[in-house]
């Protein structure tokens, strides 16, 4: 008997079914943007506790008004220059004796910060400041910290800080995580991120 070829199955409707499913997924799902600047809020203190005294030279004040204008250390500044200014402040290292900073390469200006461990960046915004400006300022200040940490991590371990953090947070990283954590801790202790936010004044 002659071989009969198998009859061809009509697959025309399969495309329709697949399209239906596809459209269902297009409508009900979103591509999530789950990236952002992580911050830790200070704890709520109901009573008025005396804030610790910080020398004025160790405070870097950044103010943003309701017209999104920047006032840094009582001088007007453009957003483009903020990162550099904050970096210069952190890296100043004018301390002597106990307060000396062993790794700073800054100008050692006696009126600026003594040590990254003592330096505090104080950010104050107005109730009318726009959120996008606030995020831009936060971003620049975090970038200044990251730049300094990168430089020191590169000098000490040959890898930048941001890269070490990325490796640490990567679940597929198959190196020594504890050693990596130790290195990260050394850098964060050397250059702690002291970014304080005052409550907004209207």
């Amino acid at each position: 008997m002659a071989k009969r070829s198998a009859p061809e199955v009509n697959a025309g409707s399969m495309a329709d079914i697949a399209f239906l499913l596809l459209i269902f997924f297009l409508v009900t799902t979103t591509i999530e943007t789950d990236k952002g600047i992580s911050r830790k809020l200070p704890e709520w203190q109901p009573e008025d506790i005396e804030p610790p005294v910080i020398k004025q030279r160790n405070i870097f004040t950044v103010q943003v008004n309701s017209n999104d204008e920047l006032l840094v250390e009582d001088e007007e500044m453009q957003l483009e220059d903020l990162r550099q200014a904050a970096f210069k402040f952190l890296d100043n290292g004018a301390g002597t004796g106990d307060e000396a900073c062993s790794f700073c390469q800054g100008a050692k200006d006696p009126s600026s910060s003594v040590n990254p461990q003592k330096a505090v960046i104080s950010l104050q915004n107005n109730r009318g400041t726009s959120y996008s400006m606030y995020i831009a300022v936060q971003n620049e200040l975090v970038a200044a910290y990251n730049e300094l940490r990168d430089r020191e991590a590169k000098r000490m371990y040959g890898v930048t800080y941001t890269k070490m953090e990325k490796m640490y947070n990567d679940p597929n990283y198959n190196g020594d995580k504890d050693a990596l954590k130790e290195k990260i801790d050394v850098i964060t202790n050397m250059i702690p991120q002291k970014l304080s936010e005052a409550e907004p004044k209207s």
Partner: protein, 160 residues
């Protein structure tokens, strides 16, 4: 001779569409893998600001979302154009943030509670006044770990 002329009928053979389902399925699988189910319907405008010093939030079940911004066009007649907070599919006032955080915390396993992060998805045009109010409420509710959700990009793009 009829035998030969029969084969030369004028019709074109049907174009095979068998590969069409394969292509659509490929697209389908891409969307299934690359997206997640929409958790809440956005009722506020949500154009996020740009930043480049970002960290990734990878554990989705540990994130609580707070949206804020102007109500979307179709809600503006009812709720006005003033920026509002959105929690779980409905508009909320500042006072409702604390109960929201507590109820979210209740629903999570106990050992995960210290790792909870609150993601603030705030529209770029919102004033800091509202954002500060949210932050104060979060401090009162002891939800101290927050994340300002942004789009990855140069921060200078925020200043138009």
């Amino acid at each position: 001779m009829a035998k030969f002329t029969k084969k030369k009928s004028g019709d074109l053979p049907a174009i095979s569409t068998a590969s069409l389902p394969d292509i659509v399925f490929m697209l389908l699988f891409f969307f299934m893998v690359a997206t997640v189910m929409r958790k809440n319907t956005l009722m506020v405008q949500n154009k996020l600001p740009y930043a480049d010093q970002v960290e990734k939030l990878d554990k989705k079940d540990l994130v609580m979302y707070i949206y804020a911004g102007k109500p979307s066009k179709r809600y503006q007649a009812k709720f006005g154009t003033e920026a509002r907070i959105q929690l779980n599919d409905k508009f909320a006032s500042v006072e409702e943030i604390q109960p929201f955080i507590y109820s979210e915390r209740e629903s999570k396993r106990e050992e995960l509670i210290p790792y909870l992060v609150t993601a603030l998805k705030v529209d770029s045009d919102t004033n800091m006044g509202l954002v500060s109010d949210i932050k104060q409420e979060l401090r009162k509710a002891e939800a101290l770990k927050i994340n300002y959700t942004t789009i990855e990009g140069d921060a200078m793009q925020n200043l138009k």
